[in-house]
Symmetry: C2
Subunit: 313 residues, 2 copies
């Protein structure tokens, strides 16, 4: 199969990968220059894509397509990123811009949607691809700086009427709780994310990595930290429970940097809380799995979607 | 079109209707004899179906099919009601039993699923049938003794992997709250249903009808009652918000006896709470509508599903 390029564009870092057959062949990682504005970031993406190719012996015209995962809302029909607050993008026609810079077909997708597709195509959810004759429902909960979610039914992403379905981080799971980035209170994200833990510890945003949290816990950690982490596990369990109650998925994959660093440790508590808060039948029939692909879930999913879209052009 | 029979089987009452072209032509309503056991109820259903025909000049063999809506979990492949606690049914092969009693094809469906289909085929959701080329997501929240829910995508019910998707009454919306019938705390049903209000007022279950609650409110009502009703509206808004955040539907229909009696009065408060708790974009793109069919939503949906299934036999 012809190789693809895949970009995982975040508010702090930008990763461009050369991908073939569901494997990352090379990877370039830089700090996102949000200060350069939408077009500046597009230029940066194009430069990283070229760099990911260097050393591969491939030129851009040897690439089938470029999949770009963005932390925001994508309108596929017009190739527009409707909003991506962390990038400062609003109604940015990213597809056309990137296609003109790269000269290859570009496919945009929301990053957590891409992550779910990556796990489905090559990771933890792969076993649920082959279930014939049923519309298999699957879900993803990606926990990092924030909490993102995605839903799939019968192999297709469930995007909802406005493209915002699966915003699992903003389901309300508590009456009050700390204020969320979205301005409301009681969202899952405000109680169970890396930033929720930073906030509970009075740290500045971005100061505490998930890996650092894991290290601190290894050295026993402070009471405050343990309390915040255990609160996160509790509410992630409530989140899983509500997904199970509402969508009754065959499996839920837990990914993102926070789960990568702490997933093994937190899974028993998450499941305990999920059991406490969901219908026995729904949860019994649902596998709750950690990501198998880690950071590669998003770019591999973006590449998979880009390859799949070529057939539809 | 050949007429159909439709049954709305509840834990307290049983309604059998003769239906043609989305209209109820006759209706028989009796108290469900749960004490007679599963087969006894089946016999009662068959008797009511025959009574619904009397006076129509039709015999059973003039009926295309019988749609039966049950308050429980249906396994379509085997025609089994897996569980329906209010009926005392467990793993009851209701389809075969009823087909042998009636001599006509019988189609089972969960009652709230049937209600959503009824509103979609003939009621408030009908305008969203005709949206071409899109997988239109729709949702129903039926509030009565309990709270039931259902989801639809592209004209098909979303039943989930185990058939229990859309159990919106059991999403957790509060940290504590009164105990729910399911044994857990904080479920929407335990905070926003007729029984939740009875419980808040210290009344015995079944003592306060939704119509009576409306009457009492017309006469100003007690402070306790007003508080319980306003709590219900608040949490129904949280429920709508979470449905919007997770499923991003084009429309949500609010039905059931409680909404029939109090919907007009409560809708502004429900919407206020929904706005407070959901993403602006998702809610802006979602119509929240009261049921247009009232009690007929469930039998009309059951009849519609029965007619549709004939093509698939």
């Amino acid at each position: 199969m012809t190789p693809l390029l895949a970009v995982d564009l975040g508010g702090t870092k930008l990763v461009a990968c050369l991908v073939s057959e569901g494997k990352v062949l090379s990877r370039v990682k830089v700090k996102t220059r949000v200060e350069d504005g939408p077009s500046g970031i597009a230029v940066q993406i194009a430069a990283c894509c070229r760099e990911a190719l260097s050393g591969s012996g491939l030129a851009l015209d040897g690439i089938a397509a470029v999949g770009v995962a963005v932390p925001g809302l994508v309108e596929h029909a017009t190739g527009t990123v409707v909003q991506a607050p962390n990038l400062g993008w609003e109604s940015f026609k990213a597809q056309a811009k990137l296609e003109s810079l790269l000269g290859r077909p570009v496919v945009l997708e929301n990053d957590v949607n891409a992550g779910l597709v990556g796990e489905w195509a090559y990771g933890s959810l792969k076993p649920f691809q082959g279930l014939q004759g049923r519309q298999v429902p699957l879900a993803a909960l990606f926990v990092g700086t924030g909490v993102g979610g995605a839903l799939m039914l019968g192999g297709s992403l469930v995007t909802g009427w406005s493209g915002v379905a699966g915003e699992l981080g903003h389901m309300k799971v508590s009456e009050d709780g700390p204020k969320c980035g979205c301005g409301r209170r009681g969202c899952l994200e405000a109680l169970a994310s890396r930033s929720a833990i930073e906030k509970a510890l009075g740290k500045k945003r971005g100061k505490l990595t998930s890996g650092r949290i894991a290290q601190l816990l290894d050295r026993k950690g402070s009471r405050k930290l343990k309390k915040a982490v255990s609160r996160a596990a509790h509410y992630l369990g409530v989140g899983v429970a509500n997904i199970v109650t509402i969508f009754n998925p065959r499996a839920v994959v837990l990914g993102g940097g926070f789960m990568e660093a702490l997933g093994e440790r937190l899974l028993p508590d998450i499941m305990g809380s999920a059991r406490e808060h969901s219908f026995a039948k729904g949860l019994r029939d649902c596998k709750v799995l950690l990501s198998a692909l880690g950071d590669d879930a998003v770019p591999l999913g973006a590449a998979h979607l880009a390859a799949a879209s070529l057939g539809n052009r």
